[in-house]
């Protein structure tokens, strides 16, 4: 799941949790899923280390990235 998809899922969860007719048990499950997704997203933000590379086509269709 991409970061964006994770955030979209979080939006869905927030909307579902806001509904009046969601059973409490379901609300708890949604909340737990939401917290797990948040943790996932935060850790991705924390660990990603941006690189600057140059694309090199070493031979027809053979791609590599270099400093």
């Amino acid at each position: 799941m991409t970061f964006e998809q994770t955030l979209m899922r979080l939006d869905e969860i927030a909307v579902a949790l806001d509904r009046d007719d969601v059973p409490l048990e379901r609300a708890l499950a949604l909340f737990e899923e939401g917290i797990a997704k948040l943790r996932e997203a935060s850790s991705e933000l924390a660990t990603a280390e941006g690189k600057v590379k140059t694309l090199v086509e070493e031979a027809e269709g053979v791609f590599e990235v270099r400093e």
């Binding site: 991409t2 970061f3 964006e4 955030l7 979080l10 969860i13 927030a14 949790l17 806001d18 009046d20 969601v22 409490l24 609300a27 708890l28 909340f31 939401g34 917290i35 948040l38 997203a41 935060s42 933000l45 990603a48 280390e49 941006g50 690189k51 600057v52 590379k53 140059t54 694309l55 086509e57 269709g61 053979v62 791609f63 590599e64 990235v65």
Partner: protein, 407 residues
């Protein structure tokens, strides 16, 4: 001995004369700019352009060789006023004066504007400038591809902005020439490489290294810093525009200064005024993303608390409802009991007596309900609803009149 051409005997050839005229004209008149109107314009199939420059009372045959044609944005139109730079010469084979043009400019924005409008019209006809084609940019790209000159200010600016906003985002440069005659081909080739790299990564081709696959980009910034109209011209090239339109990932064009709109801007998914602005549009600010995540966490917690409170409220309501219903059941039972009690009372002998009947009871307390229970001379009690009467049997008859009920 006479000088060449001084007498019939020393007559020179036509070619010799034309060559002499050519040398004299080229030597006497240096390369210069001439202004006139385009007339009788024709494109030869070998790529050269032939036409005349004319004004009210004179005209001049002109040629632009194909190698110079390539540098022009488009062909001039008939009657267009142009400034042409060239060398006046003589074409010896025809003895004809000819102006060899190597640079051509129309008055005002003329030729460039015409080329721009023509290219735009062709792209529009194919739907490539349609706003509905524009793709949404990913909000959180992990890698941004940049097609630009590897040593231009544009690349430095983009990297600096990305670093500052979000150090977790990677930049992959696909180098290309961004000005000069080779720029359009170079840009098209860079876009082609990008497309094949993305396609190879998506299809898990073993030709794409693991590192290259890990950095497959989410969007493209293509552009360069500001420059003259000629410097920016590659971004008005139709093939470049078509390659941008065909790019498999969303594109941001970032060409030059804020005021220069290029053909590339028209087909890109987003037009940024400068490369720095492109980087700002492409990459979110990390601390803002982190804040957003915290907000989402707060929202989830609040929503759950609301749900729990709501659940508790529901529970209480149900309990109250239950108690109320139980109360109503008891009430109904009580009413029913009272009703039954009423009926039972109605059936009791006391109630019958209240209606005017009486019961005879013997000395032993037994009810005297039949004629045979009475013995003449015996006493018995007559029970009434409000008391008792001691009575004696005088006589017993079997012909008693029917009792008439009295209310």
């Amino acid at each position: 001995m006479l000088a060449p051409g001084e007498s019939p005997d020393s007559a020179i050839s036509v070619l010799e004369l034309n060559e002499a005229a050519k040398a004299i004209i080229e030597g006497a008149i240096q390369r210069l700019w001439v202004k006139g109107e385009i007339s009788n314009f024709t494109k030869h199939r070998n790529g050269h352009w032939y036409f005349s420059l004319k004004d009210a009372s004179a005209q001049l045959p002109c040629v632009i060789w194909s190698r110079d044609v390539r540098r022009l944005p488009t062909a001039p139109t008939e009657g267009m006023t142009v400034m042409a730079r060239g060398q006046l010469t003589v074409y010896p084979a025809q003895g004809k004066m000819q102006f060899m043009i190597d640079a051509l400019e129309a008055e005002g924005e003329g030729l460039w504007k015409k080329a721009f409008d023509e290219t735009k019209a062709r792209l529009t006809k194919d739907g490539l400038t349609d706003p509905s084609r524009k793709r949404r940019l990913p909000r959180f790209p992990r890698t941004v591809a940049v097609i630009t000159s590897p040593d231009g200010a544009a690349l430095r600016d983009i990297i600096a902005v990305v670093r500052r906003r979000h150090p977790g985002v990677s930049v992959v440069v696909i180098p290309a020439a961004v000005q000069g005659e080779t720029a359009p081909d170079s840009l098209v080739w860079a876009l082609d490489r990008l497309s094949r790299w993305v396609a190879g990564s998506v299809s898990d081709s073993p030709m794409v290294s693991e590192a290259a696959r890990a950095l497959v980009p989410d969007l493209l910034i293509i552009g360069r810093g500001g420059g003259s109209r000629e410097d920016l011209w590659a971004f008005n090239d139709e093939r470049v525009a078509r390659a941008i339109a065909a790019c498999p990932i969303p594109t941001i064009s970032a060409v030059g200064h804020e005021t220069d709109v290029t053909i590339a801007d028209l087909v890109a998914d987003l037009r940024a005024a400068t490369p720095s602005v492109a980087a700002e549009s492409a990459v979110p600010v990390l601390v803002e993303v982190q804040q957003m995540l915290r907000n989402v966490a707060g929202m989830l917690t609040d929503a759950l608390e609301d749900q729990v409170a709501h659940g508790a409220r529901e529970l209480r309501q149900r309990a109250d409802g239950l108690a109320m219903r139980a109360g109503r059941v008891v009430e109904r039972r009580r009413a029913r009991v009272q009703q039954l009690a009423g009926r039972i009372e109605a059936l009791s002998p006391v109630a019958v007596l209240a209606r005017g009947f009486s019961v005879a009871r013997g000395a032993d307390g037994g009810t005297l309900g039949r004629r045979a229970a009475f013995t003449i001379g015996d006493t018995f009690d007559l029970l009434l609803h409000d008391g008792r009467v001691r009575a004696r049997t005088e006589s017993v008859h079997d012909d008693a009149p029917h009792l008439r009920e009295t209310p």
